[in-house]
Amino acid sequence: MKIQELQNEYDFKTKSKPVLKLKGLNKENIEKISKAKNEPDWMKRLRLQAFKIFKSKPLPKWSVANLKELNFNSFDYYLKPEDQPSITWSEVPKEIKKTFEKLGIPQAERNVLGGVVAQYESESVYNNLRKELSEKGVIFVDTDTAVQKYPELIKKYFMKCVPINDSKFSALHASVWSGGAFIYVPENTSVKLPLQSYFRMNTEREGQFEHTIIIADKGSKVHFIEGCSAPKYTTASLHSAVVEIYVKENASVRYTTVQNWSKNVYNLNTKRAIVEKNGFMEWVGGSIGSKVSMLYPASVLVGENAKASHLTITLASKNTVKEGGAKVIHNAPNTSSKIISKSISVGGEAAYRGIVRINKGAKNAFSSVRCDSLVIGNNSKAETFPHIEVFEKDSTVSHEAKIGKIRDDELFYLQTRGLNEKEATSLAVLGFLDSVMKEIPLEYALELNKLVELEIQGM
């Protein structure tokens, strides 16, 4: 398991770090956040405008998840993620400790993941990575720094791919956002190593309202990995991050997310990419944890020949509701998209919700969707809501889905080869996940596989 760290730059770092913790969502607190960050006036105004929009929008009712329990005023909104309180080892939930043990995670890592230790550094590794990137002209800083250092870029790209009025949660996010990664890759530059915002031993705990922007200029190529497959315990229970990706002509971006939040978390992120001519956007995701998830990465294909690929794995364990899916909008001719979604319900409820929309003029557009759901054990539920909207006659869309239990004949075959029922089940499940799993970086995939096995054995 590779351990890489990234220490984000703060221009206004001081020796005594101010700890800013604000309870409740109101205009005053938002202004305090903006002031503490020393933001330009336009950003403060954007936050306040977004807050107005947030208040005016109702909670979405169409989801299978119950969002009524969300009380926005009960959350703490932090200035910096590391201001979240450290807890003692004894406070870390038992299941998480057990999982660490089973996954063979070393003690030091367990401490960080458990939320016990705030920092861990390794200068040398970090410095080499920084050097290589700056030589290529790649900008990789945290978003707060970008607001100060690259205001023109921020003005051009911030909340333009996901507008503040897109939904109640994008508005919430825009009003209290903090942290996140800002990446700019210059023309014809290819970043060979995947950029990772969050490593197991990262200094920064994942922010609740991180804002990540990736701008891949013409002909460039970059792979960004976010998250962690080992269970992450956090006291912050609402995550409403936004990821905006701009794939320019002939560029190619891959965004991998692996998430295993503890079961007190509402994971309601908004991720969207705008893909220009000949561009290629790949979304790869493994969503294992959290109590409620609503994740629909979106690709808007605006240029001719633009392509998008969405691969996701979702695991709904006991008492969780995981909604996941994909949104692809074809706005130009010869665009194509492929969506593969694999979800497994092991005592929870997994729903696929997606939309493929082919607008008029998107001649020769092609889209294929495959969303399969595996239902294991009692009380497990699965649903699928695939929307298909086609306004262009010269296009082809196909959608296939299979929902249900593992085929009896598959299980039987494996059992006749000596595997007991649980072993056979986990093997069948891994086979089910294979087409997406093989796209996830090896170290995460290995852990993901182990986690799935643990869930099944734990039933």
Binding site: P60, W62, D166, S167, K168, F169, S170, T270, M294, Y296, R353, I355, I358, K360, S373, V375, I376, G377, N378, N379, S380, K381, A382, E383, T384, F385, P386, H387, I388, E389, V390, F391, E392, K393, D394, S395, T396, V397, S398, H399, E400, A401, K402, I403, G404, K405, R407
Partner: protein, 274 residues
């Protein structure tokens, strides 16, 4: 995030309200291969009766040409190999089918309007429902029912008009397969809800072909499984006229429109259920 998962809002439930005070007339048909022309009788009876019940006691084929306004037709498909063929449903027609044995019901909707087919398939029974929609205006079809046996639904929808809607809602405890094929001249919405309960196995196939530059289609084949002893698969596709086939027919002297017609007619013919 979506604000409204389904764009065309119709409240079809409003349209069908069966008055409980209607008179029921039961007509027993004991002859096979009898063509019952109920035209004259119905027009006269229409004013008095709002429900008609047809009970077939012996196996065979019955052709019913049923024309009428807001009429409810009850069909008791209790004979072995009973075949009903119904033609020309009109606005606000409702057909209720109770299937206790192997039966086949053919429905041919010619006029615009709203038709509702409710079915109940008993255990060990098999119902094959063949529906053809040809309306030029609004063709609205609502298929709902409970299946405990084997259910096969073939819908061939020449949705020539604007806002053709097909809704299907199957509570499935047995085996259900639904196949819908539609050629879209203007607008089509298909919304399906497959609720699998018990230990059902279901498969749904939706195929649509867009014909004109202004055609558009909106499909939502949603499905929900509530326990782990079920298996369900569905597929939906939006296709375009195959260029190779079009070219071949043109090299055989057929004009473009004519060749297109041959292609979409052949598209509608074959059902996808094995």
């Amino acid at each position: 995030m979506f604000d409204s998962p389904f764009h065309y809002k119709y409240t079809r439930e409003d349209k069908i309200k069966i008055s409980k005070q209607r008179l029921i007339q039961t007509t027993k048909l004991s002859q096979t291969k009898k063509t019952l022309k109920t035209t004259d009788k119905i027009i006269k009876l229409q004013k008095k009766l709002k429900q008609k019940k047809f009970l077939v006691e012996k196996p065979g084929e019955v052709n019913l040409n049923l024309i009428g306004g807001a009429v409810t037709y009850f069909v008791e498909a209790s004979g072995f190999n009973t075949v009903f063929k119904m033609k020309t449903l009109n606005a606000s027609s409702l057909i209720e089918i109770n299937c206790t044995k192997k039966s086949s019901v053919n429905i041919n909707q010619q006029f615009s309007g709203f038709s509702s087919v409710n079915f109940n398939v008993e255990k060990n029974a098999e119902l094959e429902l063949n529906i053809q929609l040809k309306s030029k205006q609004q063709a609205l079809l609502n298929i709902t029912g409970v299946n405990k046996g084997v259910l096969k639904i073939f819908i061939s929808n020449l949705a020539a008009g604007s806002h053709s809607d097909v809704l299907f809602n199957v509570e499935n405890h047995g085996f259900a397969s639904v196949s819908l094929k539609s050629v879209v001249f203007k607008t089509l919405s298909v919304k399906g809800v497959d609720n699998l309960k018990g230990s059902g196995v279901g498969e749904t196939t939706i195929k649509t072909l867009l014909l004109n530059a202004s055609s558009n289609v909106n499909i939502l084949p949603s499905a929900s499984i509530q326990n782990s002893s079920q298996y369900y698969s569905h597929s939906a596709s939006v296709e375009k006229i195959n260029d190779e086939q079009l070219f071949y027919l043109q090299t055989r002297t057929l004009k473009k429109k004519e060749a297109e017609k041959i292609i979409w007619q052949s598209f509608l013919k074959k059902s996808e259920i094995k």
